[in-house]
């Protein structure tokens, strides 16, 4: 390193323009990272040698302007004022030139010895943007402009050469304002120049402009110069009166005007369309008329895929858990001398039936998470909120309220917390209130179980209808609130930055699916395990607590059966007034999947008691059967996937596209699962539908209830719980009684 005073070069630029990449490319490993004095903002400095000369490069914090709106802007500005670097390299994203020029414009006004580095110029060209570099340089007062691609090291030599050539003279360009503004700037500039110490520290014209902009940070520094502050205040008052607006806005508008002029001279957009492919797609996808049907069709497809395609795999997991896994557990317990007693009952009828009853739905959840992930990753999910805006406004809610509701399709708890992104308390409380009607992933196993047993191939459509009913209930509730609780308040505009459509990244979707599924399994092995054991315990205890009949009591005479039986008549008008359904709904408050695990425990316990003894297969036979049935399930899954096409086409009135059946003869209906058989005996299609509607609408799980109480208070939560229970009961009873009246059978 030479002993001569090194040149100091500052890198300035907006956030995310590749400034750090360029800094790394210029300095290599010779870096020092610390903090700016008194600030938590990271300071990076690095050494480089250009043509034998040592250069110290300082990476300034990313800033959009040199105003005092953020700590990053203040740090960058103070550094430029105090340290006066030999040159300032303004790094701009060439693909977003116009947005980046505001900072460049402010650097010119500050009188910084500027070089403009147009980074990512390849991406700009890819978007059909052609930048006339000499014209840009000329429009900016002759400052050097260099095209670079920081990530590939392209253009670095030219940039180094420009840095070495740049002397510290400020750009000759002066941005001029309207005459009255210029007159005030000139007057203040004279006052500043009269103060030699001040004029030496801060460029006088720039300070005059900042004072007219009421820059609070600089005004504070001038507390010891009351005459200058008074003069600035008076100038601001005169300009405000003359223009009828804040001088800062007048000055900023002028800068945008200047930038517009620069861009019109130097940027040729003719090679690229002003409309991107995403814009063109949005003309259809977010269209006022077509947007909603497209949204509904996509949601229909999601539930066709999740419900029908996953069905063979669900049956396979169910078969494995109910068959080999249960037999192996029994064999192990027998070998340990624990067979036939309450321990076996706890493990088989409690843990395996309860937890296993929920785990069989893992394939379903995996497919749901993948399909929702696809919608998210392609950029469609953002459009869904945009499309639903008009629907939300119907109920007096801000269109943004649909964003938390969308999250509710995954889980109600984050949906409730997501209401924090809404501006006013009314919107937050109402959105939180109706968010519980958006069917969360935990309710899906209940629908799939019942729809699979009672509606067969139509189960996807039934589940889709349930989701729509949830949305409709949310809207109806909003209308009730708009009429009776919160008088109409017209929502204002909000602007959405819709992300461009893109091909989904499979790796991201799979990673997200893995995390979400892991959460579901964690839930099954914690909350559901505990509730299964509790349900088993209550089911084993006689109602009169006579311990001599522990685990031998008839289920309906158990403590659980008695409590459930006492509540069951309440549900009779809805068609499911049996103790099993009532008991499952009670435990469903813990988590909605527990409805399934409880039913699995109750009904499979009944069924296994009736099962005939048969010679169990060997371990090898079991393993062979698991592999064979898995292959068959995969083949059926593929067939179901293919059949999505004819089912979708057949939505068109008059269309009758045949479904594929490449597995030969229709597979034998193998719904011999104990739970399915028991349910078909205990429910009718009509009462099953009423039951699913009840599960959709009734009081959310305890975690969601706690979240609501945390966000909106106890009274609001209690009101929501009562409202949801009444709405669920009312809707279920209406469906059942209405169905009976229409002769759909009980």
């Amino acid at each position: 390193m030479s002993t001569a005073q090194p040149r100091v070069i500052a890198l300035a630029g907006n956030p995310n323009v590749g400034k750090s990449t360029l800094f790394n490319a210029l300095t290599g490993g010779r870096q020092h990272v610390g903090n700016w004095p008194g600030k938590t903002v990271e300071k990076k400095e690095g050494w480089a040698t250009f043509d034998g000369q040592d250069v110290l490069i300082v990476d300034l914090p990313g800033a959009y302007s040199l105003a005092a709106y953020s700590v990053e802007e203040i740090v960058a500005r103070d550094y430029l004022l105090r340290s006066r670097p030999s040159a300032v390299v303004a790094v701009a994203d060439a693909a977003n030139l116009e947005r980046n020029l505001y900072l460049v414009c402010q650097l010119i006004e500050l009188g910084a010895p500027l070089i403009l580095a147009l980074n990512m110029s390849d991406m700009a060209r890819g978007r059909g943007l052609k930048i006339d570099v000499p014209a840009l340089s000329e429009a900016l007062g002759g400052i050097p402009v260099v095209e670079v691609i920081g990530t590939r090291g392209v253009g670095l030599e030219a940039l180094r050469a420009a840095i070495l050539r740049r002397d510290s003279t400020p750009p000759p360009l002066r941005l001029t304002y309207d005459p009255p503004v210029e007159a005030e700037i000139a007057a203040l500039q004279r006052l500043i120049e009269d103060d030699a110490e001040l004029a030496r520290t801060i460029p006088p014209r720039w300070l005059a402009i900042k004072l007219l902009e009421n820059d609070p940070h600089l005004a504070e520094q001038l507390d010891s110069r009351p005459a200058l502050r008074r003069a600035a205040d008076e100038a601001v008052a005169r300009l405000t009166e003359a223009f009828g607006d804040d001088p800062e806005i007048i000055l900023t508008d002028r800068r945008y005007g200047f930038i517009g002029g620069v861009v019109s001279r130097a940027l040729d957009r003719s090679a690229g369309s002003a409309e991107t492919a995403s814009d063109r797609a949005d003309h259809i996808i977010t269209h006022r008329l077509w947007g909603l049907p497209i949204f509904l069709l996509l949601m229909w497809l999601v539930f066709q895929i999740t419900a029908n395609v996953s069905a063979p795999l669900i049956d396979w997991v169910d078969g494995v858990i109910a068959g080999p896994v249960t037999r192996w557990a029994e064999a192990l317990l027998s070998a340990a001398g624990l067979g036939g007693g309450w321990v076996e009952s706890l493990l088989i009828d409690g843990v395996i039936a309860g937890v296993g009853g929920v785990l069989v739905f893992v394939p379903l959840l995996v497919l749901l998470y993948i399909t929702l992930g696809l919608l998210e990753d392609t950029g469609y999910m953002a459009r869904a909120a945009f499309i639903m805006d008009r629907v939300m406004r119907l109920v007096g809610l801000h269109g943004k309220s649909f964003l938390p509701l969308l999250i509710g399709f995954g889980c109600t708890v984050p949906a409730i917390y997501a209401t924090r992104t809404l501006e006013n308390e009314r919107d937050r409380k109402l959105t939180g209130f109706i968010s519980t009607f958006m069917s969360c992933g935990a309710r899906l196993p209940v629908y799939v179980l019942f729809a699979g047993v009672f509606f067969g191939a139509q189960s996807g459509s039934v589940i889709f209808a349930l989701y729509l009913l949830g949305i409709a209930t949310a809207i109806a509730t909003g209308l009730v609130f708009k009429r009776f609780v919160y008088p109409s308040q017209e929502p204002r505009a909000f602007v959405m930055e819709l992300p461009p459509y893109r091909l989904p990244n499979l790796r991201t979707i799979l990673a997200q699916t893995r995390e979400r599924t892991r959460g579901f399994i964690r839930n099954a092995t914690t909350i559901i395990l505990v509730s299964s054991v509790v349900v088993w315990l209550l089911g084993a205890l006689p109602a009169n607590l006579d311990l001599s009949r522990f685990d031998v009591v008839e289920p309906q005479e158990s403590l659980f059966g008695s409590i459930s039986g006492a509540i069951a008549p309440v549900f009779a008008p809805a068609g499911f007034g049996n103790w099993q359904a009532a008991g499952s709904l009670i435990t469903g408050f813990v988590a909605k999947e527990v409805v399934v695990s409880t039913m699995s425990q109750i009904y499979t316990a009944d069924a296994t008691a009736e099962e005939a003894e048969a010679a169990p297969p060997s371990l090898l036979e079991d393993a062979g059967e698991i592999a064979r049935s898995f292959g068959a399930a995969l083949a059926l899954t593929a067939q179901e996937l293919v059949n999505i096409v004819p089912r979708t086409v057949n939505l068109i009135p008059g269309a009758a596209m045949p479904e594929a059946n490449f597995l030969g003869a229709a597979p034998e209906e193998e719904d011999t699962a104990a739970l399915g058989l028991a349910l078909s005996g205990a429910f009718t299609p009509l009462s099953a539908l009423a039951f699913m509607v009840f599960v959709l609408l009734y009081t959310p799980c305890m975690t969601a209830t706690a979240a609501m109480r945390h966000e909106f208070g106890g009274r609001w939560t209690l009101a929501q719980m009562i409202y949801a229970a009444l709405a669920a009961w009312g809707a279920a009873a209406l469906i059942y009684q209405g169905g009976l009246l229409l002769g759909w059978g009980g």
């Binding site: 959009y64 964003l403 708890v413 984050p414 501006e423 505009a493 979240a707």
Partner: protein, 97 residues
Amino acid sequence: MSTTLRQVLEYFESHQGAVSLPQMARTLGVERATLQNMIDYWVRKGRLRESGAAACASCGSAAGCPFMVALPRTYELVSGGSSPEISPPACGCRSCR
């Protein structure tokens, strides 16, 4: 006459419902990038509120929450002082516990 900052703010005040950036740019007759600049300005001034992609961003586990949906960035008017104070972590959702 070119679009001014004041017109951008007035647009927010006088319109209802969701608008995409290209739609608003077309209505105001301004380049999208310029409009974005102007919106940025009002955000910095505190007159518009920018909501980020993180939906329940208040949660301490937001970054790793599997239920977090990538939502779009939105801008809206800040109505006098009603902006909610986000209270910290622990949303308590199943995945975050």
